[in-house]
């Protein structure tokens, strides 16, 4: 849907279009910020125990607590102890050439057709 019907474009029209466009981008995205904020508030109220840290402390990035270190160490230990030697999963069938022998010949194993004489 075309909004503007401009036949003679000049600098004033271009400047207005640029200005209105950037304002519209901000308007739409600020509106989305507002909607998402409300959205977040509703969900934060629904799940207070998940959203907040257990002790009410502010969790700062880079700070690792003792319990977390213990959990990571246990997980690593369990992971390493569960590992086994990896075997090669490549199966190779080698072709073998045998000398001809009537004992394994297919043609001699077939029932011969009756020979009418």
């Amino acid at each position: 849907m075309k909004i503007l019907i401009v036949t003679d474009w000049g600098w004033p029209e271009m400047l207005w279009v640029a200005l209105i466009s950037i304002c519209l981008v901000f308007f739409v995205l600020v509106l989305l910020v507002g909607v998402m904020k409300c959205f977040g508030l509703v969900f934060a109220r629904r799940q207070p125990s998940v959203a907040a840290a257990p002790s009410g402390r502010v969790v700062v990035q880079g700070q690792v607590h003792e319990e977390e270190i213990a959990a990571i160490a246990t997980a690593l230990d369990l992971y390493r102890s569960a590992m086994h030697d990896r075997e090669s999963e490549v199966l190779t069938i080698l072709s073998i050439k045998r000398a001809y022998s009537p004992w394994n010949s297919k043609i001699h194993g077939l029932t011969q057709l009756p020979d009418r004489k």
Binding site: L4, W9, V25, L29, V30, L32, M36, G40, Q47, G62
Partner: protein
């Protein structure tokens, strides 16, 4: 007998001559100017960048191969005259169209970019954006580059529609740039697609100097609060709400945003795993092949080798730089009004230029250079995906004003 042999040899020599004249080898000497030779060189150079240096290889490689095919004489795979004047000439289409003409219909009718957006949506995690909605503002600020470049392109003599298409390079979003350009100025599709994807690959080169120039060491060391966990219900409702709001406000952005959110909902709802995997892999890959080939095919010598292309390449860098600076500066401005524990590391502002996830990775790398214990990646993903939404909104607005 002798007469028969003479007329036979005439027929053979005449047929052979016609055959030789019809080959592309003869075309090299008769139809091809220096322009096509240069374009073949450009195609080979782009393929070298894609294969050797892995510069956005998925698209740059196919674009370069399309460019190679279209500039080979005699192949007749793509005909510019079928799409002259910005619309498809259906009356002569079936009689004259080559393979790439048929595939190009997907670009011309705006189908491929939207299908790619379905795949992008299915691969995108909007969690960081839902957890920190302020990221939308950084995504909006990074779109400043689009509009500054829009004015810059007009100053260089481009028409308003062409200026809009060039400006969208600053959105750093390939499908959006292709979508808008195919609607506003299809004659510039080749140079704009090449510029957009080349600069997206060069984000790790273009952005860091600007990031270091506009931020202080102290700002780069800011550690941000851990993001709150986002529930599954929030993740499911987010794409529905965004699609409805943006489609109601900006119907022209509805195809892009609608497809992006459709893909995301497929991923988040968890009940259509097969569809989600298909759009992320098979559909996406097929469309990327068609899109790349046909966009490359539009880069004929006449369309590509002129001063306009040079102008587009220069304006493309300007758009990227301005977008990066816009995001960084808004993050700094927001810090003036934030409490100490809610401060934003301005480095994540540069990720607002879209280019998912490369721009977010650049923020992370630069943040770790200042402080190796600082992890900005998840924080930067917020503005990064907000940039995708922002550039689609900007494209919709430009389409409404100029289309």
């Amino acid at each position: 007998m002798g007469n028969l042999l003479t007329s036979g040899s005439d027929f053979v020599s005449e047929s052979l001559l016609k055959f030789v004249e019809s080959t592309g080898v003869a075309g090299f000497f008769t139809q091809m100017g220096w322009g096509s030779v240069v374009m073949l060189g450009v195609a080979c150079f782009l393929m070298y960048l894609a294969i050797r240096h892995k510069f956005e290889p998925l698209l740059l490689f196919t674009i370069a191969f399309g460019m190679l095919l279209t500039n080979l004489p005699g192949a007749d795979l793509y005909h510019t005259e079928l799409f002259e004047g910005g619309h498809v000439h259906w009356d002569i289409f079936v009689a004259n169209a080559g393979l790439l003409d048929y595939l190009y219909l997907g670009v011309k009718l705006g189908i491929y970019p939207c299908l790619i957006f379905v795949g992008v949506g299915a691969m995108t995690d909007f969690g960081p954006l839902i957890a920190n909605p302020k990221s939308f503002l950084l995504g909006a600020a990074a779109q400043v580059g689009i509009f500054v470049t829009f004015l810059g392109a007009y100053a260089l003599g481009f028409t308003p529609t062409q200026a809009g298409s060039i400006g969208i390079i600053g959105g750093a979003d390939g499908p959006t740039a292709i979508y808008l350009t195919s609607m506003l100025s299809p004659e510039l599709l080749g140079p704009i697609a090449v510029a957009a994807y080349s600069y997206m690959a060069l984000v790790p080169v273009i952005q860091p100097p600007i990031m270091r120039l506009l931020t202080t060491e102290k700002e780069r060391k800011i550690k941000m609060r851990t993001l709150r966990p986002v529930s599954k219900l929030e993740r499911i409702l987010f794409p529905i709400i965004i699609a409805v709001i943006i489609s109601l406000l900006l119907p022209s952005a509805a195809p892009l945003i609608g497809c992006l959110m459709l893909g995301n909902l497929m991923k988040e709802c968890g009940v259509v795993d097969r569809l989600s995997k298909t759009v992320q892999n098979e559909l996406m890959n097929i469309v990327v092949i068609f899109l790349g080939l046909t966009v490359g095919a539009t880069a004929t010598a006449e369309a590509f080798l002129n001063f306009r292309t040079l102008g587009i390449l220069v304006l493309g860098v300007v758009a990227f730089c301005m977008g990066t600076a816009g995001g960084l500066l808004l993050a700094k401005l927001m810090n003036l009004f934030c409490k100490e524990e809610n401060k934003i590391n301005p480095l994540i502002g540069s990720a607002g230029v879209s280019a998912v996830p490369m721009a977010a990775r650049v923020s992370q790398t630069e943040g770790q250079k200042a402080d190796p214990s600082n992890y900005l990646l998840m924080h930067a993903m917020g503005p990064n995906v907000a940039g995708v939404v922002g550039s689609a909104v900007a494209a919709g607005i430009l389409l409404s004003f100029l289309g």
